[in-house]
Symmetry: C2
Subunit: 638 residues, 2 copies
């Protein structure tokens, strides 16, 4: 399990290596028990003992400030961090980042926009990671916990340095073994929580809504309640009591547990609908059990008919979440948070913002992002998320965001994220969850400077600002999504999902493509506030990148720039591939560290192959359907 | 492991239950050591001790007759079976079948058309069965042998009753563990061979061409040869010696082993091409090792580029086997048998006969059929193979067939074949391998009478004569194949394989569909003898069922019956589905035994769903491409 023994003897310096994505040996952190001790240690590492490379730090604890902090520089060689205990930790990391990046310290009180900044792992207790592209689970194996404590401390440091304060340790698709995280595995979970507590990170657990039917009443004093329940009905008093006992039991073991995360009535998961109860009734029942301990109940608003008949053109999957949850606005308990994916579909390369994120007034919501590159290139193809998020946060509007969650892209790979550049997305998530007003270029430059790539800052900034747009061009032109290989979701298959039950269709034929989602079509657009709907409803005015998300159009449709729709599809694919070749060339000229060079090169070769496949399959697909040749006579295979 | 304990107390009678697919307790066979003893026992079972339902049998052993036999009925209550030892066994089963079916005994000397009548299992040592739809392996589990000896004896009896004389016990895709069937697992294999020997069944083993690189020299006296070889080059003397030692070792353990079966240079399997050697050189090297023991080397002629670029329209997968093997005709050793799939592709619902089966003059060949319903409905949908085989054997011409192999459809399910009616295909394979001149209706009626369905003989005969044509209508109209879901091969996906590397394309576009395989196209048709090629080359004259196998045609092409091609595609799909509904109705009126009723009903419900899906997906696919409506205004979904 000691995977990074080799690093123990290496000198460590914040200048030489990124603070937050780190080879730093976790073992030296073992003796540190609180955020303040961590903060002191980090500052000392940076400035102290024979290095003398930076100013000295002093801390002023003001518990009333909680996670907030103030940074002051009363003298060039002195920094004062004032804040609550965790505030001081975050302030220290911010100061160290700024010193490393040669940026000015932020002025005034710094407070997080989101109080819940959560990393959702999709780790299974058998050690696999659903949609994971960076190796096996960092903490699960063989049906339970199995980890290198030093590496978990490294993880804690990495997450804390960007302000992530909650880690949900298990997959929302709770398997039979993971069910016992609130049972037999709880002592191990508590031990794991102890490892992360000094970093200000609390655990969250994904729970199975039907747990009372599979686990005995957790209260040892519940005598006579030894039998499993026959129901998980949230209005059944026996069920409610079971969950109260469960919460008492779990909080006895992990007093600072952040709460429970639940995926219910979604993709064959159990939920309140089984008993004719609403999602508010389901969530509130669990929330009531957690409330005495200050726990949050995070309820995933990911729901749709995953058994749709493709022949049914009335049902439109993007409508589903709003239809279910908007009418429930105001009926959720205070400690319920509705966790809503950024788009109405499912983490596609291009989606408009979910109308549900705009449509709730009386419900606490979390926006859910996906760092793991399920639909965005499997951490093989380059995909940088900050430009995308800038748009998303702008569309949501800052005031509505109180919580942010992201599906983790971490695994047991040496570099944590499979592709070393994929780490940018984790870094950026923490930064955006703290402050959604960030400028993407700014965040990218910070990450580059902190990650040992400063020598190539200009080139890499350019690459990371553009690569996701490039990926979009060759995989999802004009907002057309889901043209991926079913199951794996890497590589093109224009009709791979077309006749399946997942509600993901492009309905291309010889004349036209797309689904009309205006009021005249499925009506999805009506879920948006009028001023937003107006932006998209007229195909002549709709932004190009959303054109085929909202409209069904003939291939001959003439776009604002004078090109036809089909020509634009061809052009995007040819351009996308050319841009990948350009990226490959750019990468070959970078001064990457030895440990990254081969890996980056090999993955780029795979990306070139993937982009070529996307270009040709998609162009051929539309050419076979439309019969319209490329205006520029480029090769389209028959 | 005693899966059929429950049957021990049941009375057994050949009239009440099929002779060859049987609940008969295997344990009573334990004491029988030779084919003659088995024959005597079977005859006794039928006629003797308190049953008195049939004539008495007497046997006249004439070893010179080998597997052949003569049946005589000197008196109404007496049957004489003359033959070699195994001939007497087969003659006895034939007589018992005929008595049970109330058919006259065959006149004259009965000799098998094929001397090798082999069942190829695709069982893996981990207990899975590749493309198996009847449960796990009957003899493997957990990396080695694991079986109920009584059930294996039942298996032996079942196979012997239809004349199958070789069982290849492991998958041609030899996994790491199965490699040791010629090593550590050999003693267990020998024990398994002992179980089947009384039934006249010899084992064959699938071997990995690169075995010398993974297993130590099997000759304990090879001192100094303890290291693995670095090559499997068939012309390397060390490799040749390794295989000679291997053969000696294996034949010491299993003296009557039928030989080795090899899949080489195919779908990522190792083979002689790695070393720049021909398949004749590869096969002959192994054949030389086996020759001293009378062993056969069965070499699968299944080869094609499974990494084809779909953009490459010059390469045409059906051409591959002929291109490789025809030029080698005459260069194979005497004990090599080339095992050739019935069609040039891969067990599709409709394929012309492989030109290689018609193109070899100096090579012993085996035709390979597939009983397991990989592409023909997974033993859920009804698919009866005798009508298909009648055509295949007619096309091959009787004189060329010296060996027949079939991929097994057996598994650990109580009824052996998943769907009880799928057993017909195993029964029929044995009958055809013995005598390819059989009439399909005749074979089907025999099986019905022997399998407890006599009460429904007329209806069931009708069903089993028609069901495969029905399946073809809704899955592969006009010879268009490969429109299946990739991977699993159940259910429709018109372009699921279109942009993949497997060489399986329909190249449909808005105007036309199919691949031109005439001399003007890929030239595949030129591989056939001229009189055969002539039958197919003109689309105006080509039989409908092969039209889109050999030709690329516009949807508007007018067929001989006046219908357009597209209309015929629509019609076939609508008719296919209606016929399935008719089959469902017919089945619901049968007097099936209790043990079959629910299972047959449930699978038929799945077939109805599958047929509906095929109908609608395929019709929609072609409608979206062609834009041509159904002439009869039936529903095609957009």
């Amino acid at each position: 399990m000691k995977e990074n023994k080799m690093m123990i003897d290496q000198p460590v310096s914040w200048r030489d290596y990124p603070a937050w994505l780190t080879d730093f040996q976790g073992s030296v952190l073992e003796s540190l028990a609180t955020p303040l001790e961590i903060a002191a240690f980090e500052a000392e590492q940076f400035t102290g003992s024979g290095r003398g490379k930076g100013p000295s730090f002093s801390f002023e604890l003001d518990k009333s400030l909680g996670e907030s902090y103030l940074l002051e520089k009363p003298a060039p060689d002195r920094i004062v961090v004032r804040g609550g205990e965790r505030g001081i930790l975050y302030g220290t990391y911010e100061a160290l980042f700024d010193l490393s990046c040669e940026r000015p310290l932020p002025c005034g009180l710094q407070s997080p926009a989101c109080s819940l900044r959560m990393l959702d792992s999709w780790d299974n207790t058998d050690g696999t990671v659903e949609r994971g592209y960076a190796g096996r689970s960092l903490w699960f194996e063989g049906g339970g916990f199995s980890y290198d404590p030093d590496r978990i401390r490294q993880l804690g440091r990495m997450l804390a340095s960007v302000g992530i304060n909650v880690l949900c340790i298990n997959n929302v698709n709770v398997d039979a073994s993971a069910r016992s995280l609130i049972g037999d595995l709880l002592p191990q979970a508590a031990e794991f929580a102890n490892l992360l507590r000094p970093f200000g990170i609390r655990l969250m657990l994904s729970v199975d809504f039907s747990s009372p039917m599979f686990l005995k009443d957790p209260d040892p004093a519940s005598g006579g309640n030894d039998a499993l329940l026959q129901s998980a009905d949230p209005l059944d008093e026996a069920v409610r009591r079971w969950w109260r006992h469960c919460a008492a039991h779990v909080y006895w073991a992990i007093p600072d547990l952040a709460g429970f995360l639940v995926k219910a009535d979604s993709e064959h998961r159990p939920g309140p609908n089984t008993y004719g109860r609403s999602h508010a009734e389901g969530a509130n029942m669990l929330a009531a059990a957690l409330a005495p301990y200050g726990g949050k109940l995070v309820w995933r608003a990911f729901i749709y008919n995953c058994m749709q008949d493709w022949r049914d053109t009335d049902t439109d999957r993007p409508c589903a979440a709003y239809d279910v949850y908007q009418p429930l606005d105001g009926s959720f308990a205070d400690n319920v948070i509705l966790q809503i994916k950024n788009g109405p579909y499912d983490f596609q390369v291009r989606e408009p913002v979910s109308p549900l994120l705009l449509g709730l007034e009386k419900t606490d919501t979390a926006v859910e992002l996906q760092l793991t590159q399920e639909y965005t290139g499997h951490q093989i193809d380059l995909f940088s998320m900050p430009p995308l998020w800038r748009e998303i946060f702008d569309r949501i509007g800052k005031k509505r965001i109180r919580a942010a969650a992201a599906v983790s892209n971490l695994g047991r790979d040496d570099n944590w994220t499979g592709h070393p550049f994929a780490a940018l997305n984790l870094f950026a998530f923490g930064r955006y969850a703290w402050d959604p007003d960030q400028n993407p270029e700014d965040v990218i430059r910070q990450w580059i400077r902190l990650s040992g790539y400063r020598e190539d800052e200009e080139k890499l900034t350019d690459l990371l600002l553009r690569c996701s747009r490039t990926y979009e061009k060759y995989t999802a032109p004009l907002g057309l999504c889901w043209m991926v290989n079913p199951g794996g979701h890497y590589g093109p298959s224009p009709w791979g999902y077309e006749f399946q039950a997942w509600g993901t269709y492009n309905r291309a034929d010889r004349d036209a493509v797309g689904i009309d989602r205006t009021a005249a079509g499925t009506g999805f657009l009506k879920q948006y506030p009028p001023e937003v709907a107006k932006r998209y409803e007229d195909p002549e005015a709709c932004p190009d990148e959303y054109l085929l998300f909202f409209h069904r159009l003939p291939y001959s449709f003439v776009m604002r720039d004078g090109r036809t729709l089909i020509q634009r599809i061809y052009d995007d694919h040819f351009e996308g591939f050319e841009e990948v070749l350009g990226m490959q060339k750019l990468l070959s000229g970078l001064h990457l560290p030895e440990r990254d060079r081969q890996l980056v090169k090999e993955r780029m070769e795979l990306q070139v192959r993937n982009a070529r496949e996307w270009r040709d399959v998609t162009n051929t697909f539309f050419h076979r359907l439309s019969g319209i040749p490329d205006r520029n006579g480029r090769m389209i295979y028959d």
